[in-house]
């Protein structure tokens, strides 16, 4: 019978390193970069939104929730916390029928995208979306940086 005793963290990570955990971690990081590009596209759409950007808030909420769950399992606490902030901000904006200048959403979005960028400094900033409505331009520009 194989032993099922609890292992120390070091032993455990050594044992699991050959099970593809590193490969999965890289795949998760790659997906975060893909999400980052999507967030930038959404930010541009949000900046241009003429009327209620409800669908954008819902999309932000959905994606932030997914990132939050994944980051928790992959033990990236900062991303998890930033995704949680965006999820809550998007819920709040959606419930209050906020317009596209909602400060809470833009702040949380900016924070999450910045952290995701830090994970992968090699991403071309030119991929990030640009101009939108004048009122949202400032926030959108912050995302471009």
């Amino acid at each position: 019978m194989k032993s099922t005793r609890r292992r120390s963290r070091k032993e455990f990570l050594q044992a699991t390193s050959s099970d593809g955990l590193e490969e999965l971690r890289l795949a998760f990081h790659a997906r975060l970069q893909s999400d980052r590009v999507h967030f930038t596209t959404l930010s541009a759409a949000l900046a241009r939104a003429e009327e209620s950007p409800g669908w954008i808030f819902q999309d932000l909420q959905f994606r932030a929730h997914k990132i939050r769950g994944g980051a928790a399992i992959f033990e990236i606490a900062k991303i998890e916390a930033a995704a949680f902030a965006l999820e809550q901000a998007a819920i709040s904006a959606s419930l209050s029928n906020a317009n596209n200048t909602d400060v809470g959403v833009w702040t949380a979005l900016e924070g999450l995208v910045r952290l995701m960028g830090e994970l992968d400094a090699g991403v071309d900033p030119a991929q990030l979306a640009g101009a939108g409505r004048a009122s949202a331009m400032g926030a959108a520009k912050r995302l471009e940086r």
Partner: protein
């Protein structure tokens, strides 16, 4: 049995071969089988890798509905499920698992980012045994799963198999019919009773025609749905609390009919064929029709001049009848005599109406 590939998607092999005996063997070896349910493929894959490294046996599902389909074909001691998923969320999954009492207890651990007290209470109220917020250290998740392993070992382990009143040891988890263990324990008793009181006893062997091709064409899930439909149909064709049926292997069943002669077994076979022909089975892949081949035999003590029939003789005779039906192309029932004396008597009584093999 399920297998998960690296991306965490489910791949199905032959689920119907997963019997209680092999599960108990794995239990005895310290293995605990977990179904991980999460709509995020990377999360599923990471959890699966971590759990395998901790000596758990892991399969995965991408939604509540997917999980229920998998759990209908295989047994798991532990269900580790996310809350928010498309189609069916973790709460509904929990409630469904609890509503289904067959196949032994499943320990449910919810693993979700929802961290409010109300969420925890809702999860436990839905039937979860434990609740962990995503973001908890992996060590904590594993420690809680060790608790699950410890608890479920009592429910599914070798001791459970030795309990005489343990229903899971005598019930086929896929169909809810009795299993081969029940057949081998209770058919000899029926034979003994038949001999002692001089009453007849009929046995009907039943096999789905083209089951392998059906599985290949529609998938094993549909095959399993047909097996369940067959059991439901057969149970409607036999006497409640007197007759019984057991699943012997993949698609083969034995129907035991106490106090019944071979022509009574023939009537049951005819009813079953007609009932199956009446309506196609509604499966998740759409309506599917199927037929069965049957072999029947009977023990009639008054004709047993050359010694009492043994269990093997009865099973062999029913099997001969079944194979004769298969040779005729299926959707047929053939009687086969256990003893030569009974064969002669059956011919004499019915003027050769029954085919005797």
């Amino acid at each position: 049995m399920q297998a998960s590939n690296h991306a965490g998607t489910t791949k199905r092999t032959d689920s119907t071969t997963d019997d209680a005996a092999s599960l108990r063997l794995r239990d005895a070896q310290g293995r605990c089988r977990i179904l991980v349910v999460d709509d995020d493929a990377l999360v599923r894959a990471r959890l699966a890798a971590l759990l395998r490294a901790s000596q758990f046996e892991v399969d995965s599902a991408e939604s509540g509905e997917d999980a229920l389909r998998i759990m209908a074909t295989a047994r798991y001691q532990v269900l580790l499920t996310d809350w928010q998923m498309p189609d069916m969320d973790g709460l509904s999954l929990c409630r469904n698992v609890r509503a289904n009492t067959g196949g032994g207890y499943v320990y449910v651990l919810m693993l979700t980012v929802r961290d409010r007290k109300e969420d925890l209470l809702a999860g436990l109220a839905a039937g979860a045994d434990d609740y962990v917020v995503k973001g908890a250290p992996i060590e904590e998740i594993l420690a809680r799963l060790e608790v699950a392993r410890r608890i479920t070992r009592f429910e599914h382990g070798p001791r459970a198999g030795k309990r005489e009143d343990g229903p899971e040891s005598l019930i086929d988890p896929l169909t809810g019919a009795h299993n081969v263990r029940y057949l081998m324990e209770y058919l000899p008793r029926e034979l003994e009773r038949s001999r002692r009181y001089g009453h007849p006893l009929a046995v009907l062997s039943c096999d789905v025609d083209g089951f392998k091709q059906t599985n290949e064409r529609y998938g094993t899930e549909v095959g399993n749905e047909l097996l369940r439909a067959l059991v439901a149909c057969a149970q409607n064709c036999i006497r409640k609390d007197i007759d019984w049926l057991a699943r012997v292997s993949g698609d083969e069943f034995m129907i035991v009919l106490p106090e019944t002669k071979v022509h009574g077994a023939r009537r049951v076979a005819q009813r079953l064929r007609e009932a199956l022909a009446a309506f196609p089975v509604e499966t998740h892949a759409g309506p599917v029709s199927f037929t069965v081949s049957m072999g029947m035999t009977a023990v009639e003590p008054k004709y047993e001049k050359d010694g009492a029939s043994k269990l093997e003789d009865v099973l062999r005779a029913a099997d001969r009848g079944l194979h004769a039906s298969k040779r005729r192309g299926g959707d047929y029932a053939t009687a086969a005599a256990v003893s030569s004396a009974l064969a002669i008597a059956m011919h004499a009584r019915k003027g050769g109406k029954y085919e005797i093999h």
